[in-house]
């Protein structure tokens, strides 16, 4: 079932690159906000989340720190890796190398059946601090195609992946970040 697929996926995927489309729908269902870009994950703990449309924003996790660069806000925010990644879809994909172990420690898993042509597994956080209610991952065969995150405010964040590559080689520079000159850097 989908749980087994998720385990296989996490255990056999050390690096990952995909195009994503993200749609956030608020509890009143009005005005979904759509964004798209490219994401890269290198386990354990490194990722690059580049939002390209409708605005540009870059998040880089280099293993120690998370860099958030927003050209419109003219700011780079730097956080320690541990807490900022917290209970986010990124933390599941970029989690420590022990895929299944991290998963089992933080989530209880449930088969969630078939929908939109995908087989879904539901991950329920075991602790309250995860900051969201549940997470669903949708597979087509062994391919991860979508993720849905239901937060504690009735908001749903859906992520749809395109041309997902498993274990591509990733240039190390993509998982580092140097702030451009003339931009304020706020770091903890």
């Amino acid at each position: 079932g989908a749980i087994e697929r998720l385990h296989q996926f996490l255990d056999s995927t050390r690096t990952l690159r995909a195009g994503f489309t993200q749609i956030v729908v608020a509890k009143n269902g009005k005005r979904p906000q759509q964004s798209s870009g490219v994401m890269i994950f290198v386990r354990p703990g490194k990722f690059r989340w580049q939002i390209e449309k409708p605005y540009s924003q870059l998040l880089v996790g280099d293993g120690e720190k998370i860099w958030i660069y927003d050209p419109d806000l003219r700011q780079v925010t730097v956080k320690k890796a541990g807490q900022a990644l917290g209970g986010t879809p990124a933390s599941l994909l970029a989690g420590e190398s022990g895929g299944k172990a991290t998963l089992e420690r933080n989530f209880s898993l449930r088969e969630a059946g078939e929908r939109e042509g995908l087989e879904w597994v539901e991950a329920l956080p075991k602790t309250q601090e995860s900051g969201f209610e549940k997470l669903r991952l949708g597979f087509a065969g062994s391919e991860l195609k979508a993720m849905e995150l239901f937060d504690n405010f009735g908001q749903t964040t859906s992520l749809y992946f395109e041309n997902l590559e498993r274990n591509p080689s990733i240039a190390p520079s993509l998982l580092r970040f140097t702030p451009p000159s003339g931009v304020d850097v706020i770091s903890e």
């Binding site: 608020a26 989340w49 409708p54 700011q75 937060d151 504690n152 405010f153």
Partner: protein
């Protein structure tokens, strides 16, 4: 200053924003600490719902203010209440955020005769109650609300907001 990347959809005029909702991004800086992510704000003169989310989309905190006072719900479900948003934000952050005034600042509404205007008559900078507010616009329509708002209080508190979408709420639009 040079206008920003043009807004995809021209925003409604400032004077149609008595009640509004906006979606955008924010960064709240205080000494070395910074909160940043997405902001969704639904505002009416007597009620306001402000949801702050992480860059990945999931909600972090929601501040609701109405006739009874101000209420903050965290992502862990904990709820804090206070008579008003200033008291609430002081308790949570350690310094007060003037949300009532912020609703005017983000719309580029200024007391008559105050603030420096741009050639189109839109406010470019304003000083009010110890805050310095600077504005950026995404188009050149005289009536437009701002797209970027940076509000600083002295050297240590700074709020940056970039509005990706403005919506004017008609008075009878049902409370979301």
């Amino acid at each position: 200053c040079a206008s920003l990347t043009p807004a995809p959809v021209p925003p409604p005029p400032r004077d149609a924003l008595a009640a509004f909702s906006l979606e955008g991004r924010f960064a709240l800086n205080h000494e070395a600490k910074s909160y940043s992510g997405r902001i969704s704000w639904t505002y009416r003169p007597n009620t306001s719902e402000l949801l702050l989310s992480s860059p990945f989309g999931q909600g972090l905190a929601e501040i609701v203010t109405d006739a009874d006072g101000a209420r903050l719900t965290g992502s862990d479900g904990r709820i804090r209440t206070a008579p008003d948003a200033e008291t609430l934000t002081r308790e949570v952050l350690g310094y007060p955020l003037p949300l009532k005034q912020l609703a005017d600042w983000v719309r580029g509404r200024t007391p008559p005769g105050s603030g420096r205007l741009d050639p189109l008559g839109r406010v470019l900078s304003l000083q009010q109650d110890g805050w310095q507010i600077d504005y950026g616009y995404g188009d050149d329509a005289p009536g437009s609300p701002p797209m970027r708002i940076i509000a600083r209080q002295g050297e240590h508190v700074e709020l940056r907001v970039f509005v990706d979408a403005w919506h004017s709420l008609s008075p009878e639009e049902a409370h979301p």
